[in-house]
């Protein structure tokens, strides 16, 4: 077990390193840099820009910049964001929890819902209930993330102004609210993005879970369960599900990159100031350090997630856990 864990950790580290290095190189090789974009005003000469570049170390050779970046990062110093004029670490420290909140809530709800729906479908595969649920899920699975978000936004924030259209809190009034009102404010701002994200993710999870369940339904031990006198429903909910959850957990690890993409679009539509929105902003501003740091944090998040998923499977499957 221990060796397994160590092996996976090593793998994850290599992947993170690889991805970040490639990003670093790509970003620096691309035309343009933060200085040219930011200081694109008449009266600012190329000489001045060069000075700025030098002060940020942007005129050093690529290799040197890379080494400096690695050594800084390892010591926890993620650098300074030129476009936002704040330390990168601070920027990320602000954005990351917001994305985690959004994604975490949505994932939890999606898993719960997804499993329930999949079980309902699998109790009698091919039944009308199975097929209709399947169709609804297929629609949700096929809908463009950003479009669903836009439609939800239009209907529930503009046409029927029930919920606020953007942000995590009311930009003006939040600080003047009492604690209950503040909590409510936060919740109101969470509803639409979480609901949208949940709908999308539930479709994916449910489809996979149904496949996993159908995979185990013909197993001999299912037949034994029925022969023991269990109702079909109980056999599915107890025996089949317990087995079918295992592949689902592993799959959860694989969802993570897609989850990030989805979160990015949701954050954009609802102006949710998390990592996704940050990444888009950083890229368009050519803010190297911010881009690389964002990619670094994302890959770590994905790697950690995948690792945890693998670990969870190993623990949940007695065939692996108990020699």
């Amino acid at each position: 077990m221990r060796r397994y864990v160590a092996g996976r950790l090593l793998q994850a580290t290599i992947v993170v390193l690889l991805v970040t290095t490639v990003t670093f190189v790509l970003v620096h090789l691309a035309p343009g840099d933060p200085i040219s974009l930011l200081f694109d005003r008449p009266g600012i000469t190329e000489a001045m820009r060069q000075e700025w570049r030098a002060s940020f170390g942007l005129d050093r050779p690529l290799g040197e910049q890379y080494v400096r970046w690695i050594s800084n990062t390892v010591r926890g110093d993620l650098g300074y964001s030129i476009s936002l004029r704040r330390p990168v670490a601070d920027v990320i420290a602000d954005a990351l929890p917001r994305t985690l909140l959004l994604v975490g809530l949505a994932l939890t709800l999606s898993f719960a819902l997804g499993i329930v729906v999949a079980v309902l479908q699998s109790e009698r595969p091919g039944s009308a209930r199975d097929r209709w649920l399947g169709r609804v899920l297929l629609v949700l699975f096929s809908v463009p993330d950003f479009w669903l978000a836009l439609m939800v936004l239009i209907v529930f924030a503009y046409r029927l102004p029930i919920f606020p259209p953007s942000g995590i809190v009311d930009p003006v009034l939040h600080d003047y609210m009492g604690p209950w009102a503040r909590a409510r404010d936060r919740i109101e701002h969470l509803v639409l993005p979480v609901a949208t994200f949940t709908m999308l993710t539930t479709a994916t999870i449910s489809r996979h879970q149904r496949s996993a369940l159908l995979e185990v339904l013909p197993s001999d031990w299912m037949r034994t369960a029925i022969a023991k006198g269990l109702s079909r429903r109980r056999a599915v909910r107890r025996h089949a599900l317990r087995n079918a959850l295992l592949p689902s957990i592993t799959l959860a690890g694989l969802y993570l990159p897609a989850l990030f993409s989805g979160a990015l679009l949701i954050e954009k539509v609802f102006s949710w100031p998390g990592m996704g929105l940050l990444a888009v902003y950083a890229i368009s501003s050519r803010d190297y350090l911010l881009i690389t740091a964002t990619v670094l944090v994302s890959s770590i998040a994905v790697a950690v997630g995948a690792f945890l998923a693998d670990l969870a499977t190993a623990l949940a499957d007695p065939r692996i856990r108990v020699g």
Partner: protein, 303 residues
């Protein structure tokens, strides 16, 4: 394996294909995709206006749906319906093109890794694992943002370049399973040269899951292309793309609802068809779902 024997015997009245076409999902999907394809091909005939023409910037910009413009106009006074029809060209071209390329490359890599094993497999799969763990949208945004908006062909290549990883892993897994099956061992024992073994024995068995992956992949690419356009980093303007139409209405999203609704529905319907087809393919190729001959039906419960 059933798939290989069957494909060997010839497609004709094949049980898998029969099952496939009996599935209502297949029929709906094919009808929809046919319509979209026809729309794309016949665009010049079907579109009432030039999709990039600014018709009347003063009076016809941002008009809601009307008789003259059933899907309204955008802020540049372009007819949305026409742009929608031409937009199908982008979606289909990028979708089909990139997936065809990605499949070819991915299958080749997958078979190589699975069959050759050892160091080749290890290195290739580490790279693939690393690539899969990066959110694809992020990569696409980065490349386009940093290098500028792309035309159709470069965009297709970029999509292909970021889309072959999953299929290569899938194919590798299948190849590994097949490598040790009797008929492959038998062929090799008979001295059949490796390329021939790969083409005649491994490839047919790998095609089925690859096809399923392809259908789902096309759906995914269409969604990605739309997302990129929505973010403003899609195909270079003024080419009409469904995501771009939505992007044009982003500033006043609730007011100019037709700029969001119609292209979104177009994407939804097309992607739905691809996914439905993918599901139908997967169920048709599932060995468990194959209609079994009578003795199998008995043996299933027989000792």
């Amino acid at each position: 394996m059933i798939a290989s024997d069957a494909l060997g015997r010839g497609i004709g009245a094949h049980p898998m294909l029969r099952a496939l076409f009996r599935d209502s999902r297949t029929r709906i999907a094919l009808v929809v995709l046919l319509l979209v394809t026809l729309g794309a091909i016949l665009a010049p005939l079907l579109a009432p206006y030039d999709p990039t023409a600014h018709l009347d910037i003063e009076h016809l910009n941002s008009q809601p749906p009307s008789a003259a413009h059933p899907f309204g106009t955008d802020p540049y006074s372009r007819d949305v319906l026409s742009r929608l029809i031409y937009g199908s060209r982008v979606s289909l071209a990028v979708g089909l093109g990139s997936v065809a390329l990605a499949m070819t490359f991915g299958i080749a890599v997958g078979i190589a890794a699975g069959y050759l094993g050892g160091a080749v497999d290890a290195v290739l799969m580490r790279l693939v694992d690393a690539a899969i763990s990066v959110p694809r949208l992020l990569v696409l945004i980065m490349v386009v943002s940093l290098w500028g908006r792309l035309d159709l062909v470069p965009l297709t290549l970029l999509m292909a370049g970021t889309g072959w990883f999953a299929v290569s892993r899938l194919v590798r897994a299948e190849t590994l399973a097949l490598r040790d099956r009797e008929f492959v061992l038998a062929a090799r024992a008979l001295g059949v040269p490796t390329p021939r073994v790969l083409v005649r024995h491994v490839l047919p068995n790998v095609i089925a899951p690859a096809l399923v992956a392809a259908a789902l992949s096309i759906a995914n690419v269409i969604l990605l292309e739309a997302a990129l356009s929505y973010l403003g980093v899609g195909i270079s303007t003024p080419t009409a793309s469904w995501g771009a139409i939505i992007q044009d209405g982003a500033e006043r999203v609730a007011e100019l609802w037709w700029l969001t609704l119609f292209p979104g529905l177009a994407i939804l319907v097309t992607v739905f068809a691809c996914n439905a087809l993918g599901d139908a393919l997967r169920d048709a190729f599932d060995p468990r779902q194959l209609p079994r001959d009578d003795s199998d039906a008995l043996f299933a419960s027989e000792a």
